[in-house]
Amino acid sequence: MKRITTPINEETRLSLRAGEEVIISGKIYTGRDAAHKRFVEHLSANGSLPFDFNEQIIYYTGPTPEKPGMPIGACGPTSSYRMDPYSIQLMPMGMKIMIGKGERDKAFQSKLVETKSVYLIAIGGIGAILSKTVKSSKTLLYEDLSSEAVRELEVVDFPVIVAYDACGNSIFK
């Protein structure tokens, strides 16, 4: 099992291979449907993203509200295919490491290879276990989106599997 710490440089990113299990520690950033829509709107208005995702990880999740004293609620991955039309525009802008669940479309996969990005999956429906890996959480962007806001999470030993690597290999059946 490989252990990596964020930020993740190009060499590490390119070394990841489909099927490999990886444990992540460090800061990762959440964002799902509504945040992606805003990223892309920001990009077309300003030619840049509101946050520099180079060497960073975006995690597709919309957690349950945290109980008093807890950093976060349940926080498993959401289905990634809904982000495909956005990711195609965001990978060339530096959003090259994504965590979600499930297969993605052909257009996404070819852009992934072209931009040497990687797509990681977490196990869906284990949000209680995954909440244990989150040590702290703060809202970074779009607080009005509540569960869909962009948060910065500090994680320790967050488990993922490499689904699509930068060479175009896939783990899915």
Partner: protein, 279 residues
Amino acid sequence: MRKIDQSILISNIKQLFMNAAVSLDSKVVHALEEAQKIESFALARSILGKIIKNQEIARNEDIPICQDTGVAVVFLEIGTEVFLDYDIEAAVNEGVRQAYFEGYLRKSVVNHPLERKNTLDNTPAIVHIKQIPGDRLIIHAAPKGAGSENMSRLAMLPPSAGVKGIESFVLETVKLAGGKACPPLILGIGIGGNFEKVAILAKTALFRSLDDVAENQTDRELEESLKELVNSSDVGPMGLGGATTCLAVKVNSYPCHIASLPVAVNIQCHAARKKTVIL
């Protein structure tokens, strides 16, 4: 007539959703454990182990099993001798509102499919009402996540398609869903009725007990053949391959038009949260 107070309906709805979010049905847990025992592929076995561990943590520490605590689906079976002198849907919505706040559950409902403003209290619920004989009120509650609901499908097949047509539609649906619907799945299959009836049949099938079998022999045979077919697909836990793609298949049927063979496949993920109470 037996009167059931509005406050009783509200508090029961609230309890059902708060419990459902954190405590997985023991029959589902048992089926997951059985799936883990027969699995020879190491990755699938380890995924099943994590799913089982997750529901344990959720139950013991009161953390939702999954962050998608869904749209609230409620089936009410109201006895003919039960008297409810208030707006039933409004009472259900009040119970849902309280459950999603007090249970720290995610509010996942938007006001309009295109305007998409979060309603901030997870209402409105989706409520189905049916009359039954007697003086009981039976409430079934399920927080239904979108990952599996989005992968559900409906087809109006020609009668000539028969069992083969149903089987290939179900298999195609499961393969299209792949890892996106969080397998291992439970499949609620409706056959017959018409366009809207078949969807309700499929949803109702998901509310059946995990270990029961269809009363009608044709439906029962279809449940068996579909389960075998789906589990031979090698989609497996989270779409990464393995022996168990579905834990159960439930078929509910209804008479239909001479020209129709409606089929609906309502997909339920492994986080199969549902609770029932009889008042």
